[in-house]
Symmetry: D4
Subunit: 254 residues, 8 copies
């Protein structure tokens, strides 16, 4: 429940539109909703500007659907990540209006996205074809959070001209998310070219000493290019969220 | 050499103030200045909005002073990080106007800092007293890049009330840098409370399985709190630079 | 065979209730019972106050059921952990009165639990929904060992208010078991709030650099909060056992 | 400042012994004392039953003495760990009554230790001679927190009879702290013999694949003996504190 | 082909029993037999006193059977380790007289084992039931190499009396192989009790920080007990072979 | 598209054979071909002398076939590595003339291989039978790149004579690729014998502390034998490519 | 105190040579001698056939000399390893007859070494010059334990002929100790050539990914050559002790 | 002693210029020279085309000078790497004609370098100023082995234009050695641009998760750019040697 909803409830009460009983009813799941196996953080939207997102991995289908239903009821919107197709099928049964972003493995209730018409866009850059699922997770999250997103995929350093030819796009972006597996050198190279914040996302793509993304992660943390910060391996969600916070910054309050 | 300087040179030439010879003289170290052991990136300011910063560790005193002198000459300003007191003494001999930020281990030529009078400040949060040198490196860099910086030190999770009492300050910040060693849990807790981007900096403070900051780094990368990205262990410079890029975002262009 | 049983046997012999032959018969599997592939530690109850618990993982179904049967015969009670449903089915065939604690993956003969009516309870705190199986293993073990157990699940640091609202419960507990995966920061935060011993249990929940619980483990070992000790990743059994020892301390002897 | 001190202040005020001004004066550093580089947690004693302990490693001499002085003033007692001889010399200058426990590297103001006359003692067991500094850190902390402590040093598993001959002492202890480096097998063996909680402390003693205590730590975490929990490498302080919490449990409140 | 076989061939030739053609025929696969995908080391028995043993893991069924057949033909005996049941079934088709040691996962042609009647036996000691497959691999290899082998299973350190009660057997052994998973402390304890060489074998039994046997391996390498050496994780074959070499030492040549 | 093709197009245009429209048509996928999920590097052949090779692992069947088709169309030849049998089946449907090198897991369009008749050959040496798939990947790549390749398999250091007997072949080779798993000692030994460049390839063959090839990799990097460089674990492709570059060196330009 | 000494004391008593008081006096430090900081294992010689050896590293000079003196008094002989020159100087003051083996860093009281005149010798093989200190530690220990020792130094695999030329010596040895740093391949090669037990000792010699001996250790544990076991990095003492146990085996009892 | 020297000796003998006694005298240190602590590989030049190079690290000054003297006498030339200034001073005393390459830490007897006049040069590329000592080690070794070497230093990926501007030089090189610390991305980028073999050298330059060069090493091994192989961290010598072998390839024999 966000600030706006709470304000509205209190104003309705003040103006006599609703009774104290209704106020209590509406607030009863505030600040959290206790399902026993989960305490849904209903204060999250108030605190973070965005409701809790369900991380499906490690949860049972039953737990996921119950949490999804409750968040949908309370917040009006709902996002679930790392959602395999069967998760989508189950949620669809109780929330028929959900959309499934297959490559991104995201199930979401299509909130009216106040997509920015502005020129401030987040650019998703990825090293290879196999990195796309992680890149898409970031892209879809950023779009669901109301950002304009552009994509520039498969421009890894082994064929640098593919990146350099697109330097105009790189320089035009407001925030960049750079996704790469294997040696993970792409964020360093991009970071050296632009003057905007770069979020680097290592992926578990690779073999041998890629160590499931660890090598790419180390590369990114060691980057000599300033203006770059890193998230966990395969954490497209975290990168999209962070980029969205940055992209919206200084916007609302002006 | 930044965009402004290059523009000015070209305009002076066009208006007849300077001869072609002088233009060439001024541009002769563009795009880089080759000292043999170093190629100073004179295009950096143009590309990244800020001139190259000297990372002193691993360079000889002689190399550092030569690079410092050349950058000072070309760019008008100069910043050197990881600078021990003897580095400061050496640079002072050739650039008498330098300032030494002792705790931050930074030597800098005091550029006229167009410090924002605005309410948009970067908040430096640190877990313990021993983390302060890293926190100060971040703080001083951000200040030298023209940001207002506030500090909130020694508010680690073992005494959580020290942090919670300051929640007003936390919520008022535009960007947060959270510095912690040992278990490195502070960024997660801060990240759960605010709706602004958090840059997490692990430090090498600790013993035993802190593994010189590795444990803190892993904690931060694994953080469940969204809106958080991480830099290398003890990389105060990188955090300050990233926070500055974010804080200035959407500002110049409006 | 515990101290009480041995005493009783010896008293019965002294009072003429049983013959020397019967005494020998009863003691014949003391101090251990050799099944060839296993030597059941019949002295365990005498030494540790609790009979040997069967760790099912890595044992064949045939080995488990033989050991279970023998322990049941000798000790009157029997506990098996890491027991998949098929283990339960097999044991049930030979010991029909067993109970299966599904989430905790524990099969046990329902010993008359002298549950404390006292106010001294062990509090189980968990970070996320996916940590519940490990938390339940700890909770059920503690209950089977005669402790009152309370549960407080899904109160991770990303939504700290869920924990702080429950601070009364936290402060009322006699011993706390805090279970968390991912960054594993919860035990540090809880440890900073209470003045009772905290047993921290890292779980293998997570992805990327969680390294199957290693990151959470390191966080807990590095904790700045005093009064905290750690067990192996996913070792709910060990945490429950340790907490029970602590909770019963100073109790019997007074 | 502990509960008792706060109560006394309030009662003195109520009974007219002191003025409101004096109350405020006494409470002005509550809940924390801000020295800029450190926020002394004055609420710690209230919350944890024991004032903040200074971890000297990583702090400057100046920082340590300032913090020590302030804690001494506020709490009446003061403990500093990981204190090299020069730390002791500096603190002595401003707090002449401090004692230096050389082997334990602890500087402390000799609080009137209400040492238990009771039979409930904490037993310190160590594997080798080189482990003694860590064992002593634990022992001294436990003594300073009001516990009776017994020591059993150099009883490593390579000469098991040294341990077994002392089994009476092992069985008499209320809580055990077992300190070992190299292979770190001692806690497992002790844990198999007693029915009381065991706190295992790995030390950095060893060479080659001891990896500065990591091997001993892993051994202890993997222990098959139930009733055992582990602290960080060389963390004698944490073990002593935890053991004290456990030993005092169920005592005060009855 | 061993020394004896070669001698016999040469003597038969000298005494006219066989023609030069037959000698060449018999020696034609000497020193190795080239199957393309494998070069069977026919000199191995000559050099090492025992023919090449087939390590099945990583080889196809077709490769294994071809190698087995050729070794059987050349050497008269054949041993294959890490052999799953289907490997046994395939080899049986072409070498019907093979035996399958199921727990040890070994397929062997039953060579007339000149089992020592002597009192010099190798003692196999194992920590837990789940370690038995590795222990059996060692035991069977040692038996196939002509040693008397005794077994003492499930005597881990959590119930030390099970080991100490058998100290007579421990002291009577000529060489000891000690197999343990989890914390791997058993070899240290055994090594402290006996005055004979101990071969320590870590197993991959365990969970969490056992790291698939790494923790047990480190424990064994760090052992303070002298007279102990270590082989790779789960390498029962290597331990059995080494113990056999040691047990036979000084025997043949006297 | 290689230098020759581009030259030809331009010459045809100059000589009037083709119109400007046709030139543009032929060059329209230059410098890369954007399939959305992949940007095929059409400049690769020009830059590296060999077209882009498809690394199948981590790509969907649909992605692989689309990329394969486009490369085939543009370059006339096509190579795909890490190709499981189903990949081969799919590609065959659209490019019927492909060949499948089963052991090497390579699918390729049989380019007219201008196999060198020269005496300069690349020698593939492997330690064990299980290393052959990686060795074959290297061998086939080198052959497809126009090199004469010789093979010497299963000559590991445990039976050194198998290697030494072949020293003539070793000394005759122009470049050597040495493939080994487990302890990975073979490249060191070979490197000590020859005076030609050795490319060392660790494989993931092994168990226990082989750590899926890490141990072999470290051995090779630590090698005391000069004239040796290393590629990633199981990277047969990389080794074959590197060896080919070296073998062709100084050849074209003379 | 060994079996012989105890027997003698008891016989002297029986025969009336000494009084009961003297018996007690002689046995009073049996089974261990408690110095507070150390419990000298006086039963060690009885149990292991050799008195306790002092590992100096990590002990203070005062502790070392006290332990040395006591062992000398009780056992008649004394050995201290990892002894820096100052340790030697200190011990010499109280035990003037000690010898210092400088390269081996061993201080020992020259026991009358009943050096075997027999042909059964232990062969010390080392890879490089820098490995000699570790090799000498092993050699001197073996000599002090009454073995004939031969040395073959600097025969690493980069110049294999240096080893092969000495194959006669290799084959003549009864037990082999092979010491190597860097890639640690030497034990594998030696193990493939001989039919006697090989003790492999990794050393911390190397740089980069030698990881202070870890790489060499892994190589040795992964060795394909059977009949090889490994000790800790730089553990010359352990190797010498193990080799001596093996070399003396089957000797005393025949 | 190289092939030429041996041939000459034999021819002189055949032609009667020298007596058999002199031949033996000249060959007496063949195939190796036994100094006890070292066996100088006099066959090395014959086998590898270049005499043994002394790796000074870990050897005493006395050992180094003795080895240097003997190699100088036998081979006429001498190279010692990782030589600190005091090593140079000592060698100079006995071989006055040595040269010291200070940055490269190499001491060498100035052999008449038959420097190629040819256009085939080795290009040394380095990422940063601090990488120069390693780059120089490679460069000097290559020069001493008779190659033309060009240098391109401080062209790291954070300022990519510094590299791209020099692409003509990159494309002209016959073999490339690319040296980089921190994230180690430079070899990937260079490898993507050229069609010649690239030797990648990670350096220990960096901090935090650079892990003393491990991160850079992993990056290089994971490189997507084909035609690249890697040597140990800081192994400038190995890279220079390998590059020289490659550069000279196909040259002598044509």
């Amino acid at each position: 429940m966000g600030q706006e909803e709470i304000k509205k409830v209190l104003q309705q009460y003040k103006s006599g539109q609703i009774e104290i009983k209704e106020v209590l009813e509406k607030l009863k799941h505030f600040p959290y909703d206790d399902l026993g196996f989960a305490k849904i953080d209903n204060q999250r939207q108030l605190r973070k500007g965005f409701p809790e997102v369900i991380f499906c991995q490690g949860k049972t289908l039953e737990q996921i659907t119950k949490i999804a239903q409750r968040i949908k009821e309370t917040e009006g919107k709902m996002i679930a990540t790392r959602a395999a197709p069967d998760v989508y099928q189950e949620i669809k049964k109780i929330i028929p209006e959900v959309t499934y972003f297959k490559e991104a493995r995201i199930v979401a209730v299509a909130v009216e996205e106040k997509k920015q018409v502005s020129s401030k866009f987040i650019l998703l850059v990825s090293g290879g074809t196999a990195d796309i699922p992680v890149a898409e997770e970031a892209a879809v999250i950023a779009e669901l959070m109301g950002n304009r997103v552009e994509r520039l995929y498969d421009v890894g350093v082994a064929g640098l001209h593919r990146l350099l030819i697109n330097s105009k796009k790189l320089l035009a972006a407001n925030v960049l998310i750079v996704v790469a597996g294997m040696e993970g050198a792409l964020p360093s190279v991009v970071g050296g070219l632009v003057d905007k914040p770069v979020i680097a996302v290592p992926t578990s793509v690779g073999y041998g000493v890629s160590f499931k993304g660890l090598s790419a992660l180390l590369t990114m943390l060691n980057s000599c290019a300033p203006g770059l910060a890193v998230v966990n391996i395969d954490n497209g969600f975290g990168a999209g969220y962070m980029a969205s916070l940055i992209n919206h910054l200084n916007e609302v309050k002006e």
